[in-house]
Amino acid sequence: MKILVCISHVPDTASKISFTDNNTKFNAAGVQFIIGPYDEYALSRAIELRGDAGSVTVLNVGEADTEPTIRKALAIGADDAIRVNAFPKDSYFVASQIAAIAKSEKYDLILMGRESIDYNSGLVHGMVGEMLGIPSISPVMKLDITGNKATMAREIEGGKEIVEIALPLVAGCQEPIAEWKIPNMKGIMSARTKPLKVVEPTAVEETTSLNSYELPAPKGACKMIDASTPEKLFEALKNEAKVL
């Protein structure tokens, strides 16, 4: 089975977020970047499903600074990698790049996280499916393949849905689809020599433009109100917080 796993290069979950250039650019100084955690689950499942004759290719849309993140995916066990040499401007741009590669390569499965953890749009898998004219499904918590058919469990409001779809397809993944894999030293060593192909982006019509970013207001101090005086809580909600 030929599997493509799309990975995002995102700030570590504990990063302090700030902006530069008049709040129009993310400040990457001192920030550790990681493989998007949902993407990493997708990668782990792809490696489990690969089988002896299969292959797992990782794809990232990003500039040269994302290569350490791609090498980690290779260390975890992907066979080769493609980097589309462009800043991942928005979901439509990223989806267009993935679709352009997938059109010529004919993958059986295209996996990625349910969303990246930087902008959290959760749009790319759906767009890729549309662009390729194949089904897309998300968020997938369980994925098994029998012959040409995928059986998936998908999270829905208050429960889960079990679906069967013929390959090829696109899936947005989340835990517990696979056990999260820590690379080993041999994997890290072999990642040095695994192929990482850099391709130039395909031209995409600009559909969005960024004005600026804004951080949420800092959390206010916590105010304790004794349980015996609920009227004080009411008063504070009404006059200070002005939510009543």
């Binding site: 350490p68 260390a75 820590i182 690379p183 080993n184 030293m185």
Partner: protein, 392 residues
């Protein structure tokens, strides 16, 4: 037990001196420690239980013999990568790092360095994968800092050597499949032998009731007329330099490892001081707490620079025993000091198993003594400066 939130300090942007691969190796080991060691280590340590299953897991991740060539199952990595791995493992627990250090530096290293091709092929891949556990026998009940005076000996009996003697304070020994043992031949030259579990006359009783390295297993090696086949002699080791070179390799790992323990104590104390409220504000607001934290971070930063430079020298084959002595001595000493200061910041909570401080502190009492005591390493530097050996 609180979740392991450890983050390593990097006050001087020392990460900029590391390659992307070295950072990935560190992150990998940190993730491994958080998954496999942090959740069990307090309980193991409290119960003086060696979690044997860690041996296979260390093998799978590649923690055994990372600098041994890949042809023999090693990692083929550089010395800074090796150091970072030891830092991360000891950040989890010194006993776990001891298990990995002994296997890599004291068992695989001498076999790779002094062994025959047959010995390398026979033992190294199994030691690398964790299928086999090894130990190293140099220290004796009456000969610690002065190994040259060892009494363990071999006699050439034609088709085998007859081994007699006893070794003490041997990490891994009760569970080990093989022991690299140092003994004097009839001419008084120190030789290395691979002694296998099950050889008649060879026993490895456990040393019980330790207050330190409780999650690591320690024992003796007792040889009572053990017939060791001649092919088990390490052909290229002759004299005290054989075991001492192994110790150089292990001490190098300890210098990095102790730094890991220091970082964990510092990180724990820093977090605690921001959360613990006294007199209406976090204890981090008080000058004496800030003094402790600032001094800890200063010492950690100095120690980081010391081992990073030592790692570069190792990679360039320029690091000498005296360089390693200074780093081992300094980094273990600052780690112990930091553990004690961190314990004070945590107040009474610092003595409980809720936090790792007291475990690190007790572990470091072994680390400051084994592989060359704090004082002997000082005298090694003294001898190097003056040309006069003060310990003979």
């Amino acid at each position: 037990m609180p979740t392991d939130q450890f983050e390593s300090p990097d006050y001087y942007l020392i990460d900029d001196l590391l390659t992307e691969e070295q950072k990935l190796i560190r992150k990998t080991m940190r993730d491994f420690v958080k998954k496999e060691i942090s959740p069990i280590i307090e309980d193991c340590s409290q119960k003086a239980h060696f979690p044997e299953e860690i041996v296979k897991k260390f093998g799978e991740i590649g923690a055994f013999g990372p600098t041994i060539p890949t042809a023999y199952g090693g990692g083929g990595l550089d010395y800074i990568s090796y150091g970072l791995m030891m830092q991360e493992i000891e950040r989890g627990d010194s006993g776990m790092r001891s298990t990995a250090s002994v296997q890599g530096s004291l068992v695989m290293f001498p076999i790779n360095e002094y062994g025959s091709e047959e010995q390398k092929k026979k033992y190294l891949p199994k030691l690398a994968s964790g299928e086999m556990l090894g130990c190293f026998g140099l220290t004796e009940p009456d000969h610690g800092s002065n190994p040259a005076a060892m009494v363990t000996n071999i006699k050439d009996k034609g088709d085998h050597y007859l081994l007699n003697g006893a070794k003490m304070w041997i990490t891994n020994s009760p569970k080990a499949d093989i022991a690299v043992v140092w003994a004097k031949n009839e001419e008084g030259r120190i030789k290395g032998l691979i002694v296998e579990k099950g050889m008649k006359g060879f026993t490895a009783p456990e040393t019980k009731h330790k207050w330190s390295l409780r999650a690591s297993i320690t024992g003796e090696l007792v040889f009572d007329n053990v017939k060791v086949p001649k092919e088990n002699l390490l052909p290229k080791a002759d004299g005290l330099s054989g075991p001492l070179k192994c110790l150089d390799s292990a001490r190098y790992g300890i210098a990095w490892g102790a730094l890991g323990a220091a970082m964990d104590c510092y990180d724990t104390a820093r977090r605690y001081s921001l959360e613990r409220i006294q007199f209406g504000k976090p204890i981090a607001s008080f000058q004496l707490t800030q003094k402790k934290l600032a001094e800890m971070l200063t010492e950690i930063t100095k120690a980081q620079l010391l081992v990073w430079r030592l790692g570069v020298l190792k990679n360039e084959h320029k690091a000498t025993s005296v360089h390693i002595s200074m780093a081992k001595r300094n980094n273990v000493a600052i780690a112990l000091q930091i553990a004690r200061e961190a314990r004070q910041i945590l107040g009474a909570m610092g003595i409980t198993g809720e936090y790792p401080i007291m475990r690190h502190m007790a572990n470091l009492e072994s680390v400051v003594t084994y592989e060359g005591t704090h004082d002997i390493h000082l005298l090694i530097t003294g001898a190097d400066i003056t040309g006069i050996q003060a310990f003979k």
